[in-house]
């Protein structure tokens, strides 16, 4: 299997990438290619031009900025997994990065690619949602910031428009407990359901693969933040949520998993 034909341009800077995107209806950025190339090989995506930003070192960094850590969009999962700054200040993020796919996938995939792809079944989008991270987006008209809560719009759809590049992810440091529970049945697999919990003053809980985007478990969050027991909060995990049914799990089984995993994650984050 190979993709249909396309033109390939390696961008020398973010500005150059933006100008190429602006001059085309369907040019696409490629970072690690570990979401895009599988889609192109299946001909589910067929952009006329690929703009390779994979080597832009200006977007490859993890920096301590006082109350938050700034991560360049092209930082690979492997570099998140091994980052001393993240292990110290946002340990959940390096842990979650280490749960993505397998080592070879983590050598190529980037945090920006994962978030821009916006798959509700992916690990890092749910993590940045629970962390209340901020996305920094650049285009020809300048820079804007988008909170994670407003970034994921629908199935593989984010707030990013054509001509926009996700450049940085700003992640608040975590002072309290955290946990990430990824449930799958085979090595290297995606989560059938996943749960991220971050306790930074209040508690935020996000869900993987319970909908077309990563979701907050708002009912559980409200309950726990108002003093309910872990048990009570966990029972509300899928309140107002309509999870998908697929070969791996029925909607009903996903609801069950969400409750169990929210309970376990809250217990671990509170320990």
């Amino acid at each position: 299997m190979f993709p249909s034909t396309f033109d390939y341009v390696r961008a020398g800077s973010v500005a150059e990438a933006i100008s190429i995107l602006d001059g085309s209806d369907d040019a696409k950025l490629i970072a690690g290619g570990h979401s895009l190339l599988p889609l192109m090989k299946l001909r589910l995506a067929a952009p006329s031009t690929l703009v390779d930003i994979g080597r832009l070192s200006e977007l490859n960094y993890i920096e301590d900025r006082g109350d938050h850590v700034a991560i360049g969009a092209l930082t690979r999962h492997r570099d998140l997994e091994t980052s001393a700054v993240l292990k110290h200040s946002v340990p959940i993020l390096s842990h979650v990065a280490g749960e993505v796919g397998d080592p070879a996938v983590r050598h190529r995939g980037t945090i920006g690619g994962s978030i821009a792809h916006g798959d509700g079944a992916s690990d890092l989008p749910a993590a940045v949602l629970a962390l209340d991270a901020t996305m920094v987006v650049r285009s020809a008209s300048g820079e804007r910031t988008v909170p994670a809560a407003n970034f994921f719009k629908g199935f593989l759809e984010t707030d990013l428009g054509q001509g926009e590049v996700l450049t940085e992810i700003r992640v608040p440091k975590v002072s309290g407990g955290w946990a990430y529970k990824k449930f799958n049945r085979r090595a290297q697999d995606w989560a059938i359901v996943g749960v991220a919990v971050v306790r930074n003053g209040s508690t935020r809980i996000s869900l993987v693969n319970m909908g077309s985007t990563p979701l907050r478990a708002s009912a559980s969050e409200n309950a726990i933040n108002q003093g309910a027991s872990i048990e009570e909060a966990a029972n509300l995990a899928s309140e107002g949520i309509d999870p998908p049914s697929d070969l791996n799990a029925s909607a009903e089984y996903r609801r069950h998993l969400a409750s169990v995993l929210v309970r376990r994650a809250l217990q671990e984050a509170s320990a």
């Binding site: 299997m1 034909t5 570990h34 599988p38 397998d102 996938v105 050598h107 090595a187």
Partner: protein, 155 residues
């Protein structure tokens, strides 16, 4: 499009379509057929090579993305005199292969893994190889081989 990269220490340069996958570049354009294509969907690891010393599934990378990079394939592991790499020896001595189809990918994934974790536990070896499937299901001896290689390389 002209791409130039180092493959097993030699500079190679070819004119390819941008959609050429690295695995096809290596097999069909450079003639190195040791790297196998198994699933072709990024799942099995049969196509694993090293890009700048790290394991990568070459069915999920374009040759143009590898332009200017250093690639090592299974053919490049033994010494120029033909002495096998300790990982290859360990697979040979511990019956780490049955049909051999997954072996090039297993060996490349395992050598990359040992660079990151030179003294792994058995459980860590299993996790480190989670992206590589053996259809003969010979995992037990594959893990044994990697542990043996870790020991012999650590000496």
């Amino acid at each position: 499009m002209q791409v130039t990269m180092t493959v097993n220490g030699q500079t190679v340069s070819r004119d390819v379509e941008p959609r050429t996958l690295l695995v096809h570049f290596l097999r069909d354009h450079v003639g190195l057929t040791g790297t196998n294509v198994g699933c072709d969907t990024s799942s099995c690891g049969a196509c694993t090579v090293h890009v700048n010393g790290e394991s990568v599934k070459s069915c999920t990378m374009l040759a143009v993305q590898a332009d200017g990079q250093e690639i090592t394939t299974i053919e490049g592991l033994a010494s120029p005199e033909g002495e096998l790499h300790p990982m290859q020896k360990a697979f040979q001595e511990n019956h780490g292969l049955q049909c051999g189809f997954c072996t090039p990918g297993m060996v490349m994934a395992a050598t990359s893994f040992l660079k990151e974790n030179p003294h792994p536990t058995e459980a860590e070896v299993r996790l480190g190889l989670e992206g590589n499937l053996c259809r003969c299901t010979g995992y037990h001896n594959i893990v044994k081989s990697v542990l043996a290689a870790a020991e012999s390389m650590g000496e």
